[in-house]
């Protein structure tokens, strides 16, 4: 029978261990040299006939046993074998895990690249002047909590994320929602985890006290040191925001540390002309004291001058490679490193995550607009084309199911031959919507970037696994 390897990526550790990432299952296997040679034999175009191949092997029994293992583990399969049928959707209605409350659509900054107010805005109307209500009222915030708690099925824990606009422009709604959620969750014997994203301009003592007391997971949008922060993250009059936020961030981090709160992350939007990522990483962790830093290339339609471009992505991948070196060094000391992109990737690689959808949007996660309308995620609230119900009447299950069916990885034929598909699954819906006008298509403009980054992740995984395999215990999921 003609046999061939399935879709996979081979990589090597520093000490010569051969690994393979099996893209059909997301399993990572390590091989000795003879087994790696067998895999290479069957990886050639058109595969090999097993009988003919076995006849060539000096130790036939041993070779047959190895081949048998590879077949059973799904690394080698008959050529042309149809893929095993895959569930199109999990049992619906899928229980909610996270609700993102867009408590305001107003912002006190005017970041030039913002998808919310800039040229790539989704919402109808006039952006920062507001489409719906500028702020969510306390009743809607409480209705959102009720909606989440009645839509979460048997989950013992749910997450509430506050977002904006600038989230803290509506601190009263955050307070009302948190206090109400606390009370309701207790009655229903659920745990609630809170998180919030903010630009840090409004982190007053009262706010910091409240957030740290409720153990908020906090993400600060910040682009780096002064020159990077002030390039795009400006107030309406064009003045940079660094001088306002730096002392407030220091105060937050200090209070949070004192109260042993959750780790606080910086989220950096990467644009053309930004400082190298390692320098920004060092500034944010060492100078300001952030626990983690995550980098996100700016979401941009075609032709935006701040977009990264092909060269920009190549440069970024090299910079991520530098940060990966630091990550490996920390991992070998059994320490956590704060490069969040790589940490998240290594977690998914270690667990063997195999996604049918790129993210939880529309599945376990929904966004709520200031008026209580439900969207796929926080980026889609107030986008009429992706409305999936509202918090009082609940989810429109037919719209939700239709979207998820259309957005399933098996519908993205472009992804068929990509080894990164278990992790990427076509990428961000909002990116695709901005770029192609269709949220359910694959983001072909960053395939090379994703493959390059996953490849970096695999090589890093191999290096750490060879030298300190126990490091990955922290990523295990029961």
């Amino acid at each position: 029978m003609q046999l061939q390897t399935v879709l996979h990526r081979r990589f090597q550790g520093e000490r010569g261990t051969q690994f393979v990432y099996v893209a059909t299952s997301a399993a990572i296997l390590g091989f000795d040299a003879p087994t790696a040679a067998v895999v290479a034999d069957f990886a050639q175009d058109g595969g090999r006939d097993d009988e003919a191949w076995l006849a060539d092997q000096p130790e036939r029994d041993k070779a047959a046993s190895t081949l048998n293992d590879l077949i059973d583990l799904g690394v080698v399969r008959p050529v042309g074998e149809a893929a095993a049928p895959r569930a199109q959707l999990p049992p619906m209605p899928f229980p909610l895990a996270t609700l993102v409350l867009n408590v305001t659509n107003k912002c006190n900054l005017s970041c030039t690249y913002c998808y919310e107010y800039g040229e790539d805005r989704l919402t109808a109307g006039d952006g920062s002047k507001g489409t719906g209500k500028p702020k969510m009222d306390d009743d809607t915030a409480r209705q959102s909590i009720d909606f989440l708690l009645r839509s979460c099925g048997d989950r013992p824990q749910v997450s509430i994320t506050f977002f904006g606009g600038e989230t803290l422009l509506n601190f009263p709604a955050i307070k009302a929602a948190t206090e109400y959620a606390e009370e309701q969750a207790k009655a229903k014997k659920k745990r609630v985890h809170y998180s919030l994203t903010t630009n840090a301009t409004l982190l007053t003592d009262e706010v910091v006290d409240f957030l740290t007391r409720h153990r908020f997971g906090i993400t600060i949008s910040i682009d780096g040191a002064q020159q990077d922060q002030d390039r795009h993250r400006t107030f309406q009059k064009g003045v940079g925001s660094f001088d306002v936020i730096a002392p407030r961030i220091r105060h937050l981090l200090a209070t949070n540390k004192e109260r042993k709160g959750r780790s606080i992350g910086a989220r950096v939007t990467l644009t053309a002309g930004a400082s190298p990522a390692p320098a920004t990483y060092r500034f944010l962790t060492q100078e300001l004291g952030f626990d983690e830093v995550g980098f996100a290339p700016v979401t941009a339609g075609l032709g935006r001058e701040y977009a990264l471009g092909e060269k920009g992505y190549e440069k970024l991948l090299r910079e991520f490679g530098e940060l990966a070196e630091d990550y490996v060094a920390a991992a070998l000391r059994n320490e956590t490193h704060g490069f969040a992109n790589l940490g998240d990737l290594l977690r998914e690689l270690h667990q063997g995550v195999n996604k049918a959808h790129p993210c939880g949007a529309g599945l376990g996660l929904l966004g709520v607009s200031t008026e209580g309308e439900l969207g796929l995620c926080h980026r889609f609230v107030e986008s009429k084309s992706h409305a999936v119900g509202n918090v009082t009447q609940g989810i429109d299950e037919s719209v939700r199911t239709a979207f998820l069916t259309q957005a399933h990885i098996d519908q993205k034929t472009d992804c068929t031959q990509c080894f990164a598909r278990p992790l990427c699954a076509g990428g961000c819906y909002h990116e695709a919507h901005v770029r192609y006008g269709d949220a359910t298509v694959a983001n072909l403009h960053y395939c090379e970037w994703i493959r390059g980054f996953v490849d970096l992740g695999l090589r890093t995984y191999g290096r750490i696994l060879e030298a300190n395999p126990k490091f990955f215990a922290r990523f295990e999921q029961s």
């Binding site: 299952s25 296997l29 087994t35 293992d69 270690h350 063997g352 395999p469």
Partner: protein, 121 residues
């Protein structure tokens, strides 16, 4: 093959399941080994299956789409097996009293199952 990277096997395993998914997969493969055994193997198995399970026939099943196209052999093969070796009067003509000659036209079901005709009660 080993499913636990923390337990070094001697001699060194040819394949190590590194991540959690690989370990789950390896555990599954190892658990399933030995469950399917050839009747002609040497030494022979100590327990023999009984009845229609002695032949390879998946029985009355539907595939994931509630159809029969995805089954591993023609549905007609199932028909023949149930008629010949099983008592399954609701689905196939019974070979004892009403339709003893139903499969007479079919000597080798794997080749000419198409010649088995319909029976109208």
């Amino acid at each position: 093959m080993t499913s636990d990277p923390n337990v070094p096997a001697r001699p060194a395993p040819r394949i190590v399941a590194c991540n959690q998914k690989a370990r789950q997969l390896a555990a599954l493969v190892l658990a399933q080994r030995g469950q399917a055994r050839a009747l002609t193997q040497d030494p022979p198995p100590t327990q023999y299956p009984y009845g229609c399970t002695t032949i390879f026939a998946p029985g009355w099943e539907v595939d994931s789409g509630n159809g029969t196209h995805g089954l591993c052999q023609p549905i007609e093969r199932d028909l023949y097996d149930c008629y010949h070796t099983c008592y399954w009067p609701a689905q196939v003509p019974d070979g004892v009293t009403n339709a003893p000659k139903w499969t007479m036209s079919c000597g080798a079901p794997m080749q000419d199952w198409k010649s088995i005709d319909l029976v109208f009660p």
